[in-house]
């Protein structure tokens, strides 16, 4: 018999004592399970509070903030706009080039700086290389989530080639600080163009190989088709972007819809999920969009490498960055979706306010909506397919 003296009184007297952190009481058959913060399938330090009824997920409450490093506060405390770029690097550490570009572009639009064409071309090449590197990790780790280990190793092997190209260009392999406001930190080294072309030739057959190993694997399809379906209207209402939104069948890519850089000069296609293996917007669709985007990125890189003009990459870098009073919101397509920077300038040398709208944060917020009613094992598939980077979710 339970001795009521040693237990807290409300355990005995109040029937609804067991609550989730949002305040919902549990039914008799339900229980709370914690997934994370240290859990291999959460792709970082994400904690999911799951209410389960047997194997069925009744509710998911994501808890984030474990990697919060006050990016926005740091940005306000810098003495110079350029100093923010290394911090932007560290937001989405798998796609640092894209982060740098988004921030630099916002400041450039605020100051109305025109960058030389050579810089624009190199930025496109770097951003697309980084997109491939980021998608390779997304695809590889997603394979691990589904129990396929080999594709992960193959993806990392190919990503290594891209990191070698970056190392050759700016010395860093992960956090580049390469794209600056108005220009770049270094020009391309000798033989970069040939090596990048070699990479494209090397990489194209590897996508075919990856498809035969993972994409059309029957077990993989059984685990991913018809799971975690994200309908179009929910995706738009939750402002999902990137492969998450395109997987739901909406042809929406900021490189086309709100063009920046020189993307409008290249011939490539926006990839969308079409429900080949199940319903439109399921986990498989979100996966295949990433694989096909890698092919498109290779296409863009090849065209950019062929047309890259000569010029000085540092000629437009301003000596002093002091934008006038004003504000701007600039959005770019990072591998995860719409990466936006909202910058307010008060006319001084450091930003008054920088807000980073990170795609992973927004894409994760739809998780409770689509995960209800799935199995616990499917939840792993859904989290894997949203392709979150917790450094960016928490900033």
């Amino acid at each position: 018999m339970i001795d009521s003296k040693v237990l807290p009184t409300d355990y005995v007297t109040q029937p609804g004592r067991f609550r989730t952190s949002t305040g919902k009481t549990l039914k008799t058959d339900e229980m709370i399970i914690n997934m994370g913060p240290q859990h291999p399938s959460t792709h970082g330090v994400l904690r999911l509070e799951i209410v389960v009824d047997g194997e069925i997920v009744v509710d998911v409450i994501p808890h984030i903030g474990y990697l919060h490093r006050c990016f926005e506060k740091h940005a306000e405390y810098m003495t110079n706009y350029q100093q923010v770029i290394p911090y932007a690097d560290r937001m989405d550490y798998l796609a640092s080039m894209n982060n740098d570009w988004a921030y630099a572009l916002a400041v450039e639009r605020l100051m109305k700086i025109e960058v030389p064409p050579r810089v624009e071309y190199i930025r496109v090449i770097m951003a697309e290389l980084n997109r491939i590197a980021s998608h390779l990790i997304a695809v590889g780790t997603f394979g691990i989530d589904m129990g396929a280990f080999t594709p992960f190793l193959w993806c990392f092997r190919d990503r290594e080639r891209i990191l070698d190209l970056f190392e050759m260009t700016c010395g860093a392999r992960l956090l580049y600080n390469y794209i600056w406001v108005g220009g770049l930190s270094h020009d391309l080294p000798a033989k970069f163009v040939e090596k990048a072309k070699d990479f494209c030739q090397y990489f194209k057959p590897n996508i075919v190989e990856l498809n035969s190993l993972l994409t059309y694997n029957e077990i993989f399809i059984k685990r991913t088709a018809n799971v975690g379906v994200l309908p179009k209207d929910v995706a738009v209402n939750y402002a999902c972007s990137g492969p998450m939104l395109r997987g739901s069948g909406i042809s929406w890519d900021l490189r086309r819809a709100d063009p920046y850089g020189v993307y409008d000069k290249f011939d490539w296609e926006v990839q969308i999920g079409e429900g080949e293996m199940g319903q439109v917007g399921d986990v498989w669709d979100r996966y295949i969009v990433k694989v096909r985007e890698m092919e498109q990125s290779v296409k863009i890189i090849e065209q950019a490498l062929a047309a890259i003009p000569e010029g000085n990459v540092q000629s437009a870098i301003p000596k002093r960055i002091r934008p006038e009073h004003g504000e701007i919101y600039v959005r770019t397509e990072s591998p995860r979706g719409e990466l936006g920077f909202y910058i307010i300038s008060d006319g001084s040398t450091s930003p008054y306010r920088v807000k980073a709208r990170s795609p992973a944060f927004v894409n994760l917020s739809v998780l409770p909506e689509i995960a209800q009613g799935c199995m616990i094992a499917d939840l792993v598939a859904i989290v894997g397919s949203t392709d979150i980077v917790l450094g960016e979710v928490d900033r």
């Binding site: 952190s21 949002t22 984030i64 903030g65 919060h68 006050c70 926005e72 506060k73 639009r109 929910v234 738009v236 209402n237 939750y238 402002a239 909406i250 929406w252 819809a257 004003g326 504000e327 701007i328 919101y329 959005r331 719409e338 936006g340 909202y342 307010i344 306010r353 807000k355 709208r357 944060f361 927004v362 917020s365 739809v366 909506e369 928490d394 900033r395």
Partner: protein
């Protein structure tokens, strides 16, 4: 629709709730009354000629003159037009109506603004801190925020 037409349709529907605007800015904005945010949001989303179905971003701002503000960046997938809405409140009475019923994405954005600026969103379904710990003292992105010397008995080293 041009920003001028958007403002006109808002004015005919809501009248006094449209406080001020700056339509010649690079990104034109309209300032609305904080206690009308939700009905204006529903109107902007559902009116066939406007259809602002995609909320890109929701940011909090501390204007450092006793006022806090919210900036909504809205976009329409159907009509490809965009508009910036602003609303503000005082630090003494930091209440703004929540729009998370209109755009689901606003739920987490508003939690982040609450966490960082201490703006209370009326009728928000789940207004908890999101990035900072639940027991964190103060609102870090306010301009008058000072890092506490001790947090839960631990010395803060910087």
């Amino acid at each position: 629709m041009s920003p001028q037409e958007i403002q006109d349709s808002l004015k005919t529907k809501f009248g006094d709730a449209v406080l001020e605007s700056k339509l010649d800015a690079p990104q034109p904005w309209i300032k609305i009354a904080p206690n009308k945010a939700k009905s204006i949001g529903f109107f902007l989303r559902d009116e066939p000629s406007l259809q602002f179905d995609f909320m890109s971003c929701l940011s909090g701002v501390d204007y450092n003159d006793g006022n806090l503000g919210i900036v909504y960046h809205l976009y329409s997938m159907a009509h490809k037009h965009k508009i910036v809405l602003k609303a503000s409140c005082t630090k003494d009475n930091p209440n703004i109506q929540s729009v998370s019923e209109v755009w689901g994405t606003a739920n987490w954005h508003e939690r982040e603004v609450f966490d960082m600026f201490g703006i209370y969103f009326d009728e928000h379904p789940d207004l908890r801190r999101i990035l900072c710990p639940d027991d964190y003292p103060g609102f870090p992105l306010r301009k008058d925020f000072k890092v506490p010397e001790f947090y839960n008995g631990m010395k803060v080293p910087y």
